[in-house]
Structures are given as C-alpha cells and as structure tokens.
Symmetry: C2
Subunit: 551 residues, 2 copies
Amino acid sequence: MNVVVIGGGAAGLKAASRIRRKDGDASITVVEAGKYVSLGRCGLPYYVGGLVHEVDNLRETTYGAVRDEAYFKKLKNIDVLTETVATEIDRSRKTVKIVRNGSEDELNYDYLVIATGARPAKPPIEGIEAEGVVTLTSAEEAEKIIEMWEEGAEKAVVIGAGFIGLESAEALKNLDMEVTVIEMMDRVAPAMLDREMAVLVENHLREKGVNVVTSTRVEKIVSQDDKVRAVIANGKEYPADVVVVATGIKPNSELAEKAGLKIGETGAIWVDEYMRTSDESIYAGGDCVETTCLVTGKKIIAPFGDVANKQGRVIGENITGGRAVFPGVIRTAIFKVFDFTAASAGVNEQMAKEAGLDYFTVIAPSPDRAHYYPQANYIRLKLIVEKGSWRVIGAQGVGMGEVAKRIDVLSTAIQAGMTIDQLANLDLAYAPPYSPALDPVITIANVAMNKRDGLFEGINVFELKEKLEKEDIVILDVRSEEEFKTRRIESEKVIHIPILELRERLDEIPRDKEIVVVCAIGLRSFEASRILKHAGFEKVKILEGGMAFWF
Amino acid sequence: MNVVVIGGGAAGLKAASRIRRKDGDASITVVEAGKYVSLGRCGLPYYVGGLVHEVDNLRETTYGAVRDEAYFKKLKNIDVLTETVATEIDRSRKTVKIVRNGSEDELNYDYLVIATGARPAKPPIEGIEAEGVVTLTSAEEAEKIIEMWEEGAEKAVVIGAGFIGLESAEALKNLDMEVTVIEMMDRVAPAMLDREMAVLVENHLREKGVNVVTSTRVEKIVSQDDKVRAVIANGKEYPADVVVVATGIKPNSELAEKAGLKIGETGAIWVDEYMRTSDESIYAGGDCVETTCLVTGKKIIAPFGDVANKQGRVIGENITGGRAVFPGVIRTAIFKVFDFTAASAGVNEQMAKEAGLDYFTVIAPSPDRAHYYPQANYIRLKLIVEKGSWRVIGAQGVGMGEVAKRIDVLSTAIQAGMTIDQLANLDLAYAPPYSPALDPVITIANVAMNKRDGLFEGINVFELKEKLEKEDIVILDVRSEEEFKTRRIESEKVIHIPILELRERLDEIPRDKEIVVVCAIGLRSFEASRILKHAGFEKVKILEGGMAFWF
C-alpha cells in the first residue's frame, strides 16, 4: 500500500505514524513545503517571550529526540520530504505532482492524506507587506521578531486580539517592548468571550502595561525605507518597530479544490465523519478541513493542534481498515495572558444568537480552592444555558486561578449534554488545596437553577451602568465597611448597609424605587435580595458577579 | 412552618440556609452538640501543619465573617443552639428532646433534618484511650496536637493511610516531627488507589522522610503515666509522643435508629433520592446517611464535605416544596501529600472485582502540559474500562502535576457514561501552559483503545518483577544511552537498544524468548512492540507505564 501525505504538521504526521503502527509494510511518504516538520507552532509565543529556549524544543519528543527527516525514517520508516511542494493531484491516475529542488516528480498513492494546514489571513491593509510586519506562525517569523528586538526594536503593535494576538502581546511585553493591541471588535478574544468576560482580560492587560484598543479598525501601516514605522487606526498613529498580524487564518484548500474535491461552505475542505473527502481514496485533516460544531450543528473551521492530532489518528486508523469517527468539536479554547487564564467551550452569546438558540446566561465568581487555603484565587465563570432543555451549551472562564480545570469539566459536560441540574450534582474531587467544598462548577450550576426558578433577577455590569445613568434606581451595597471603603460604585444612588445589619435597617431603603443589590461576588446580594423579597420589596435585582465584574 | 435541624455541619446548615432563602417565614432551629458550627474540618490538617493560621479561618465565609450563632441569627434569622444535644425524636408528636446547659427541653417540628454526621471509627486496640491519641476530626483535637508539639512532642505515628491519615502525616512532618504511617492493607489510600499507583505515593512519602509501613496491623498502644509512648505493630515498637488514629468513620445513626427510622445495610441512615428518610417529615443528609454508588449501584457511605453540601441543598429545596434529587456519587476523592496529588473516581480494581464487573485496565504517564513548557510534570493516570460496553468505570491519578483537572474530567465522563472512544475525541482546552496537544485524558483513552484492539499486550510492574525472577524472558530497554545509564532495571536479562537503532539491530534480539519492552513512559515501548510484531516476533509485551512505574 502506497500512502502519500501532503503536509508535515500535526494531522499529517499523526496519520502517517498511526498507519505505520498498524501496518508494517505500507510505503509512506510525507511531503512538506517548509523546512521543518512536526513543529509545535502553538509554542512560538513562548519561544519569542524567552520561556522556551530553542526552536528545536518545539519539535522534540517528550524524550528529547528532534523530529526531523532522519527521526521519521529510522523510527517509523516514513519518508519525509521537506522543502517539497505538492502542485497537483491527479485523482484518476492516483498521483501527486511534486516540486523538489527545482525539479518535478510524481508520487503514486493508494491513499492520499491532505493536511496542508492554513495560512495567516492577512487583511487588505495598505502597507501590510512592509519589512517588520510578521505573523508569528512559523519558526522563521519568530526568529525575525527576536532579531528585530536584538537590533533595538522598542515598540510593537499587534493587530487582532484573538488568543494568538494576546499571547504575542505578552511575549513582546516580556521582551520589554511597548505593546499596543488593536482589535476591530468591541472586545478582546471575541471568538471566545462575551463582553463582560473580555473586559476582565482587557483590564489585566492594561495592569500589565499593554495598551488595548478595541472597536478600532487599522487603516494603514506606515513604512520608512520599506521598514515599518507606525500603524494608523481611527486616525491615530501608533509608532511601531514590529507589527504582528493575528487576524485569523485561511485554510489551504486550493490544491484540493483544483483536484475537484468538495469544498465546504466555510471555504475549507469538506470531509465526512471518517475524515474522508468526496474522493474515497483521499482523506484530509487539520486546519485545511471544516468540522462540525456539536452545539449548533454548523460547519466551522477549528484550527487547533489538538483537533489536528485527533483527526490524524482517525485518518490513520481508517486508512488501515478501521472505522474510527471524528464527530466534531465544541470550540473549546484556552489561552494564558500574563497571570490570567481565559477559556471557553461551546457557544458564546453571539454564536448562540446567530444559531437562533433560546438561552439565558449566568455568571459567578468563586474561589478556585478553599478560600482559607493559601493561593486561593477568584475565578469568574459564565454559563450559557438553553431554555427548555436546561442544557449547558456554553461556558467561559477568566481569572488568575484554576480556570482550565473548570472549563475542561464544563466542556465534557456540554459534550455529554448535561443539564444544569445534573451539573449541580457532579461528583467532583474536593479537598481544600483543589476546590472549595462546592466547586465553582457546582456553584454556577446552583446559581443557574436559582435564576431559572425565579429566585433572583440579575443584571450585568453594562445594564447597571446604563441604569445608573438613566434611571432613578437605588444601588444597595451590602458589603462590609472595609470593602466599601476600598472600592465602590461612585454614585449618590448608592446606599451602603452591611449584610449583617440589613434585617434591622430595612426602613432605610425606599420601597418605591428599583433596587439593585451589589456585593463582592453576588453571593451576599442574592441573600440580600431574598431578605428584601420576603420583606415585601418588589423591584429587586442583583448585579450578577458583583464588584468582581465592575470596572 | 417549624423546621428543626440536628447537626450544625455542612449538610444541616446548608439545608437550613436553603430553606430560609426560599421561605422568609419558616421558624428554623439548628441544634449542635459541639462548640462550633459550620467548621470546615477538611482544613484541620492545614491548620495543624501551619498553612492555615487560625481555626476560625475554617468557619469564615469568603468575605471573612465568622459563621457563629450571631451570624446565622442576624443574616439568616436561623436559631443556632450550640453545645446542645438532641436525645430523642418523638415522631408521633413531631418533637425533638434536647439537653442544653444540663436542662431538658423540647422542640416541635413540621420537618426535621437529621445531619448528625459521623465519628471516628476507633479500632479496638489496647491502649487507644491514652492521652496523646487523637483523631484530627475536631478543632479541639487539632489544638491538642499543636499543644503537644509546643510541649516538645517529636515522634508521631499515624494509624491508617487513608487520605486523612496521609494529610495528617504531612502536617506532622511540617512540624518537623518524625512520622511513621502504619496501614493494615497492602498499600496506602486503599479505598482509592490500586497497588501500582499507591506505590508511587508511598515512594514520595519516603522521599519526604515519612516512614511508611503497609500490610501491618497495630497490636497495642503503649503508655507511660497514662501518656502515649509507643505503638506496637507486627512485634515492632514505634516510639510515639503523638498518635493520630485515621481508620475511617462510623455514621451517627443511633438517634435515627432509636426513632425507628430505616437504617441501611451500611449502618447509615437510609434515604431516598429526595434525601427523605422512611418518615416523610424527616430528611437526612451528610455523613450519617448512605448513598448510591452510581457505578456499582451499591449503597455506600460517602463522608465528604462536597456531598454533604449538595445533599443539604436538596433537602432545603424539597422541604420548601421542590422536587430536587441527589442521585448518588461515584466516590470521587482527592488528596495532596507533599508535592504529590492523588485522586480517584469510580471504582478501583478491588471494587470492580467485588462488584463482579468485567473490566480491563490501562495506565499511562503523560506530561501535564506541553513538555517544552516550563514546569511540565509527568502525571500517571489509570483507567478501569468495562469490557463490552467499553465505558470508563474508574480512574486514578497520581503525580506532581495537574492531576486534579484530569480526574475531574474523567469523573464527569464516568458520570456521563462515556466510552473510551468518546473520551478520545473529547474537545478539551489545549494551549501549551495547560496541556500537551493531546491531553493525558485523550492519550490514555487512545492507549485503552490500542489495548482493547490488541495492538499491544501490557504487563504491570508487579507481573514484571515476578517474571524477572521466575521466567527466562528478555527485557528490551529502548531508551537512550543517557536514560539507561541514569536508572535501569538491574538484571542480566536486560538488552539495551535505543529505539532509533531498533530497526537495524533486530538480529540482536532472541526470537525464541518472551520479550518485555521497557521505556520511560510506555510510548516508545509501544512503538518498539509494533516494530517487533511487524518483524515477526511473536511473544512481545510491554511494561505499561514504563520506568515511571518501576520501583
């Protein structure tokens, strides 16, 4: 059996390796246009930022062997051809035309794997081809940033505040550059986070000295002597010695399209659940294919290293006679930026609306371990819950503590179709160093049930800011004297009554006005809202998430 | 509505608080025999060890209010009676007899909540009542340990190596005591871990200077002037100024039993899924009730703080007209001991056997984040998989890295009834600081599928040790020269061929003997076993988990 794999990234090499593990005799050839195969590109920001010392670390095995051509030949008897471009697929003859060292050749296949990946989607901005504008998607670009830094680059602009943009911002800041991030949308990480969650990340970036500019479109990149000098956005000039463009990717589907393979609505290669293209001898996986969002049922592109690895395994399994399935994804994603983790799974509000889903949301900050245990940190979670089925369809988490664990649990729960009632009874691992007695996941499920069952009415920080400006409301802050002194909502509409005094001081609160109760994380305001309701107050709301979401 | 709650721990106070949140008018009285209510007893080892500075920290809210009688009265209008003992329940008259300050009284109830908790199950060891023998289950006992330490106690023996025993061992070691842990079973944490996993914890304890003695029954506690002096076990004397007994708990079900309520087969109070006892006006929750293991269907006692909190909420919900359900647990548990985390969910092998389940197991060490990322640590996971359904029914994790996250994901997957095939496609959050491209959970699911599908045959470290002694086998170590030099299996049966040379050096390996391939974590040995199989070698096995499990 002859197998040709086009693309030496995660999907292609995982497929090739899996085929070898199952079939000792197959002839397997991997064709890669670039200089390296099997490079963990997700690690490039950490290489630039100095946490990872050698680019080669990103293509090493866990036991320190560099995954180069010799490695694949010796260990797996796989022929890897680097700096080799596949130019054409002839499906009737089952051949691939390749160009290597300037000369053409042809490879025969019984099975072909297309794993051509994706390329940065550079927006049509004037000047974007200037020297000094990079994308941080290859080892070469990473080296170039370091080189510019060594030559004295001091100011950087990152265009696009998705997770690669923000990881790049941190890396550049770690090199002591002045960093500005410019994002077209109204928030950072718009494909993951809703606005009240994104604001927390933005504030953390600002605390760390990164300039964050949202709702702003880059108009022009200005060069001098063909070297980048500044970025113009909203009429303002941002000086820049380095510009990192991180505005998404475009699947490399052209070779497949030219061969007449079915291209999906997303512009990526269409595959079935066996990762097979419209030609049964040709499989495809990784960033060049589209997959299914298991929450909305829609086709999407999920350009993640973990997805590529899983798809590669499925391809290898099926080419060697198996019937493995890759069902799809729920868009789970995570990034670290300085001391913060931000993560999401399933849909955010924007995606839920676009998919026509009927939902409600709930937010809840919670300590990530027993609050008396050293290093306990508040994390902020948000759930999107489908009305009627009461299933969790989306989750977001932000904060300094153990966010990753909670998003992975919620991701698993979303994939299992769990309801908030089931979530509330999850048997999670509790001990003080790892979780409060009620894990943040259980707590937010409880909050969601309370909201569903009408035990409180919540508003978010944006709604409160608007109400504060336009309506004659009362804000009832029920925190302690000390908390109130330290940081509060500055307005004459605020009444301060510590929660332990509330039952005795109810007559200080006007009964004719809408009352919004505020505390640190939403717990005491819930308690207070119940006291007020039981005392006959009618229009009582709480600021969901409390001061932890105020900005 | 009159509600009486017997027991001021997590279940009782959660129930009481929930009732108040839903019902402003109910009269709620909580009766507690001890001095404190709402004390987070799981935190006591950290108080003894010096990580938590005040006992009161363990009964504070997240915002620093001490949960005492006044707190419950002011905030929740709940009457808390401490140092008050409930002596009798009269179900026909719906009254509870209490003794307070030496005088008797009676409380009427419409609903009664029994949350009497559990007490340490002290084994019938001669001398166990001596001064200096404690259980670390109350603030008073914790204070006593600290006092003895301040008075110069230097040597401690912990009887029982469950998680409380091990947490206590760490706390005592943190006070610079000489610590010996004595366990009757053949391993530490026997209710959670199988032997090959437990051995890793034992070795870590020894590295930290704790003396661990397993398969050993304590015969006698020796005192002098009524003060403990030593523990005798297996004929050996272990000097001790302090003895901590941590040999499990016994539910306080006597009051319920005396009232004629149904007691379950476990000796704890029987409740239905609504947490209602056999009397529909009486609910019960926490350590005094039994619950259902959702994997085996058996009744068990699950004396965990998180379970008590969840049950308390269900009770409060149902007493106020709701229909909330507590379905049961899967015995998820976790503990930290020095730099190690150990955790489990579902059944271990012993439980699976006892329940008559047909299963196979798989183990896999894996880095907890991208191996090139700083602070990456190897964690060791184990799965118990039901044959036929291929569902995961048990999971264990041990190591220095992010074990907690993986066990929580696996716990969620077990509760959702996921198969190893579904597990392999879980969409978990990947970025280098949080996970390798394939999360350890995905990796072990892949290993499990490989084992199920016959792609390798594994043996564990105990089987290999036995084979090494009794059979004419070959151990093929495929690690690098450097790894081999650093630490290896010392035997003339070992052949060392680094994996990258294996294909060229196959003729050095005898074809007539059984071959056990060994590497660092099991990955290269799997690869090597495939190469050998394809080359016609017939009797090839691999040491599952590799040298990471060798001891």
